[in-house]
Symmetry: C2
Subunit: 429 residues, 2 copies
């Protein structure tokens, strides 16, 4: 049976586990935070203006306001919610899950909160596994899993929400093979968040056309000259092990700090140590070697540069700056005399015995004592602690609206889609 047909059967039948629902509540909350905060970005205004000029049936809402067809909302909201690049990451999938899939699912969920959760879990799982299947080779060649694998996830999610049968879902996925696209060479431009929008848009249009009887080639994912073979796919068969039983999407990681993901394990490890910055004589950070070329700027002088600096961010943490708040990473922060002076105390070393998601820290205090800690972003985290951290981020980005969002997401039950819709439509702050 072709891969698209296997995925289609899964999309139609799968029942997510409690663990999957639990992670999905976090991703839904976190995605809403990113979308609401992203609604004031310049690219958001462009996407809304274009969608509103086209107009059409009021099927769904956009972040920042406006009712448009589901397809248009998916494109706009995927782009808007990825604009800050502060959304969730699945390291094995090599990409962002929520921004490609939730915009499609929420645009098609109407008032069915339980259906949204099912479809979103399924979409996340399909995107994760397609991302694993095409593998690192796909990413290294220049493709952006967020967009490409995301398109299949979004298609699976909408297929479930629209009630497609397995045959229709296979044609929807087959059609997605010829539409899925997205390049890393857009990084650093508005084209990067648009890649997430492309995935979401692809899901809506392919599933909707299949529901109307559109026939494609369900062999065109893994078959000859299919999406995988044409897009530097590694065809990792292991990616499909346990489909339906094991939910790999539960390994999604939420970004709790408004800086490069390579710094996050260090931030968590330092945050757990109790001391005051005046007592610190020396800081040693041990990290995986891959990050040295990514986020080890020794002397940044802009807020953007600070987001990629172990030395600067270590000082921010120890001096009590709120690293969850985007506004913390300002030029003023990068030039803050205390933080600039503190950088000299920080030493960064690399060791490949660490996982990429891991960091070790050691503080030498002026009184001769040592404090040390370790953190791995993949380590199981207490759910309450995780929610506290997510809500700190939410409060930093949304202010008073955070409480409404928390209530609307309703993590212990089913999300209130009308309340979420109202929050999405709020004018950006």
């Amino acid at each position: 049976m072709s891969l698209a047909r296997q995925i289609a059967a899964f999309a139609v039948e799968a029942r997510p586990t409690e663990a999957a629902y639990g992670v999905m509540a976090q991703s839904l909350y976190d995605w809403m935070v990113c979308g609401m905060a992203g609604a004031s970005e310049p690219v958001a205004a462009i996407m809304r203006a274009q969608a509103l000029a086209d107009g059409g049936s009021a099927q769904a809402v956009m972040f920042g306001g406006g009712h448009v067809p589901a397809r248009a909302a998916a494109l706009a909201n995927g782009t808007i919610s990825h604009a800050l690049d502060y959304d969730d990451t699945h390291f094995a999938h090599i990409g962002h899950l929520s921004v490609g899939i939730l915009p499609a699912a929420i645009a098609c969920a109407r008032k069915d909160g339980a259906g949204l959760l099912d479809a979103a879990c399924i979409g996340f799982e399909v995107a994760t596994r397609v991302g694993l299947w095409v593998g690192r080779g796909h990413y290294q060649a220049g493709f952006h899993q967020t967009a490409t694998a995301g398109a299949f996830g979004a298609t699976a999610a909408v297929a479930r929400l629209r009630g497609l049968d397995a045959e229709q879902a296979a044609h929807a996925l087959g059609l997605a093979t010829t539409r899925a696209a997205g390049l890393k060479s857009q990084f650093g431009t508005m084209g990067k968040p648009m890649n997430a929008g492309l995935a979401a848009e692809c899901g809506v249009i392919c599933a909707d056309l299949a529901a109307r009887g559109f026939l494609s080639s369900p062999e065109a994912l893994d078959g000859p000259q299919g999406f995988g073979p044409t897009h530097a796919g590694e065809a990792q068969a292991i990616a499909w092990d346990g489909l339906g039983d094991i939910w790999k999407m539960t390994e999604v990681s939420h970004k709790l700090h408004a800086c490069c993901h390579g710094l996050h394990a260090m931030i968590e490890a330092l945050s757990a140590l109790e001391t005051s910055p005046e007592r610190v004589e020396r800081v040693e950070i041990t990290t995986h070697p891959r990050w040295l070329s990514v986020c080890n700027q020794p002397a940044p002088d802009t807020g953007l540069g600070a987001k990629f600096s172990y030395a600067h961010v270590a000082g921010m943490v120890l001096h009590g700056w709120n690293t969850a708040d985007i506004d913390s990473f300002s030029d003023a922060c990068a030039q803050d005399a205390t933080l600039v002076a503190f950088r000299d105390k920080v030493r960064v070393v690399a060791h490949d015995s660490l996982a990429e998601t891991e960091a070790r820290v050691r503080l030498d205090l002026t009184d001769g004592t040592q404090l040390s800690g370790q953190h791995d972003l993949m380590a199981a985290q207490d759910t309450d602690q995780k929610w506290q951290a997510l809500r700190r981020k939410g409060a930093a980005l949304l202010g008073e609206r955070e409480a409404q969002l928390w209530e609307a997401v309703n993590p212990e039950g089913v999300p209130d889609l009308e309340a979420l819709s109202e929050l999405m439509q709020m004018e950006s702050v």
Copy 2:
């Protein structure tokens, strides 16, 4: 200067030659024929229903009726006009030009017929050259130039029509790099015509977003991990020689017979010979070897099979069947006793001294005389003869509506866009 910036400068400034306008009139006429005839195909009904369900601003019309936003019309009309696979081909570009570009251009041309011609020529030229630039390697890897190179052509065309400046056009093309997609593995399904629709849709949305200030990476066509390098592009620098002076799009070829393109040179060569089928004892067809595995079915028993059979179609031509008419290729035709018997008289041989677009034919008559002929589809053709052939095709597909279409296209002047719009909206016959 990056390739996208060079193309952008061309899109903004270029002035097509008289020869380009002349070919464009033929392609516009031929595309309208294919779209109007394709409007009754099943995929056309699906595309219209989806676009009408989404609704929106009445910016453009669809084949078969319905006003929708330009983006939606481009997607629908690209798909509908390619549904019969009877539209123009550019052999060097390795794809179909009109179906990817004209749906975008006509949806954005409003009432400016002269502007439509300029933009369409420019779009054709860009698509042709991008197709040459990515080359045969791109096609052999599994990509469909109609969709991929077509997307850049459509973007250039809409950029011209919307009056973008060179900087905006470069960002539109840069954005198209991350959206352009389309696989050959959809051939034989509705996904194939959809590939043309994807190109046209890409053009409208990328140019419109760039007009609103969207910033992408104009380096992402030929730069590191750009569209070319990631999509098995050959980077044929020669593709860009003489851009602005030489109009390679003028080499586009129009399909005058409703069967595999590999049979067309034979049909033309046989049609020029004057005899009656009863006098023919033996037919010898010489063709390029590549066609033997494509269209040399010795004994087809369906209309579809007949479209890929030298032996059967040779008999059709000599017995006076109208090979321009899609309805000629019926199961009844494939099983016609006279034609089936005639196949035994036909012998097909291959020789690689012929061009792929060339055929030689020889008839041995019962009285011992021989008739022979040759045709190359690339040979310069008298304009009047070409128009006569195109209009025979138009009449075969459209019946009485052909005369209205001829008047609306107005080959010696500027097309009447209101009249074309009315023809597009007619219910399919």
